[in-house]
């Protein structure tokens, strides 16, 4: 079974309890009325769609009901780490240290 570590429950839980919620660390522009339509659409729609190490949001829908962030390798589908909302994006060194040979 595919397990995901929820940082709030602090447990490995079955993937079926979770929902994917898109790329992480996308900040909503604070000056929405001042920016152009192109910039706004960039915020709304444009994503990295990365092949490889990807920071993304997950939601423990049928568990603690919390959103959290994860680093996942989109090639192997392996989760490298998960962390609570509000924590900064892990540095490349931190990600590399947490990686086993995926």
């Amino acid at each position: 079974m595919f397990l995901i570590h929820c940082p709030y429950c602090d447990e490995d839980r079955p993937e079926i309890e979770f929902s994917y919620a898109g790329e992480a660390h996308i900040a909503r522009p604070q000056n929405a009325d001042a920016i152009s339509d192109a910039e706004w659409s960039e915020y709304l729609f444009i994503r990295e769609n990365k092949r490889g190490i990807h920071c993304e949001r997950w939601w423990h829908t049928n568990g603690c009901n919390r959103f959290f962030n994860a680093v996942r390798n989109t090639v192997t589908d392996k989760f490298i780490m998960t962390y609570e909302m509000g924590e900064p994006r892990p540095t490349p060194e931190e990600i590399e240290a947490a990686r086993d040979d995926d």
């Binding site: 079955p14 079926i16 049928n62 568990g63």
Partner: protein, 184 residues
């Protein structure tokens, strides 16, 4: 069929290895309060809410279940446990929290017997071995396509809640499983 308090599912459970009972109506409150206020809130209220996700505090009259970092479900026996609403109303002067009566959202089943774990695991992917899911542990999870809340109250006894509208679906799955056991 499982339509009334204390009735067993169907008539397939003669040897006692699996019993599924519909729990009589309970009063349920959803309590949300910031985790950092919990210690002071417990001190002032005397409720003794559990502090970690997955923990419960259980008495005959009341179950207090920590479901999220800032979320508790309190399930009470209406005739044994009165006055919680009034008690918490007094605390609303000193703390910011939400306290919502959601009694009718859920139904509850008691699933018990030596086949209880196997029966729940037909639709629930959690590891229910006692090391991973000891007595007193509670969590939301899934049972087939229904979101449920699962609490272990004894080695072979579980308290399972689901939304009322999922009731016939969830109980139907247990009834089918019970038939399978009987036939095998």
């Amino acid at each position: 069929m499982l339509v009334d308090q204390g009735l067993e599912i169907g008539d397939t459970l003669s040897d006692g290895c699996l019993t599924v009972l519909l729990v009589s109506e309970r009063t349920r409150y959803s309590l949300r309060i910031k985790a950092e206020d919990l210690t002071a809130f417990n001190l002032e209220s005397g409720l003794g809410l559990p502090e970690r996700i997955g923990q419960s505090s259980l008495t005959e009259a009341r179950m207090q279940l920590c479901l999220g970092p800032d979320e508790w479900l309190i399930v009470t026996q209406p005739d044994l446990d009165k006055g919680l609403g009034a008690q918490l109303k007094r605390l609303s002067d000193s703390f910011i929290f939400s306290f919502t009566d959601i009694s009718h959202r859920n139904i509850a089943l008691t699933v018990q017997g030596s086949e209880a774990v196997a029966a729940i695991n037909i639709g629930c992917p959690l590891d229910l071995s006692p090391e991973h899911f000891p007595v007193g542990k509670v969590t939301r999870t899934v049972f087939e396509n229904a979101p449920i809340m699962l609490l272990r109250t004894g080695e072979d006894v579980f308290h399972l809640e689901c939304w009322r509208s999922y009731g016939p679906y969830v109980t139907g799955l247990f009834a089918r499983y019970a038939k399978d056991i009987e036939m095998s």
